[in-house]
Symmetry: C2
Subunit: 141 residues, 2 copies
Amino acid sequence: MLVEDQMCFALYAASRAVTALYRPLLDELGLTYPQYLVMLVLWAEGPSPVKDIGTALALDYGTLSPLLKRLQQAGLVTRQRRTDDERSVLAALTEEGEALRERARAVPPVIAEAMNLPPERFDELRAGLRQLTDSVISHTG
Amino acid sequence: MLVEDQMCFALYAASRAVTALYRPLLDELGLTYPQYLVMLVLWAEGPSPVKDIGTALALDYGTLSPLLKRLQQAGLVTRQRRTDDERSVLAALTEEGEALRERARAVPPVIAEAMNLPPERFDELRAGLRQLTDSVISHTG
DNA sequence: AGCAACTAAATTGTGCACAATGTAATTTGA
DNA sequence: TCAAATTACATTGTGCACAATTTAGTTGCT
């Protein structure tokens, strides 16, 4: 296997391994990993147009529309058209969705502990991933 | 606690960005990214039991069974039960599958160029991803 | 005013990922 | 020896990702 493929596979494998690490923790919250990312956006930003959630997570409507419907079905978010621009749908947390934030605080420490990287290695890796993402996206776009 | 600051999102975003980078190149070969990974295994290892492909890529039968059927449908691989152990299915390249290897050689240089990382940063990042994957898997398993 | 261009979402279809379940073949151990 | 456990694989169902198409609403231009 060629070196370039080793990098892409390392990335692919790491991403799936980390998602698998989250899974049992998020199961207890009734969330999938992408749903957790959407909740992170809503916890941080408050009520947000679907468009903005898509920009924050680099996900399109084909992914977000059904995902938000499932979060609504679970009673965690509401979706309503803006009155000032009826093209736009505003996603907002319900009380239950807000409340879930407290239980979700238990998640990051478990993840950080399992990653088992010294802080400087952690920052270095994250910075490398950002640079890689930026290079690749600028080459694509 | 912004989403962008978290390692998990950096990993998730990088993985999707790199897959998106491969997509137009692999489209010309008639392959998806996971199919390309399976072909890399077969090009490197020759005829392989589905089990071994799964071990190499950390993918289960639920992913590999239909994926291999599609590769077979595309005329790139054959699948046949072993005579000595009929539980096992051996995946092998057709001539067309072997021939695709030559066209696939054009892919890695384009990817490497787009990643735009100096060799030592490249190696460092790959090593970091491996360590992260190992830590996380050992914590899971 | 009126029409083209643009925008935000939703929908449809394909292909992963992965859990859970089922099945047939093989190995094991009392 | 033969029932129990194990192994390799297939299938079903859920939920992403993402391309392509469609719909409804808004803005821009003349």
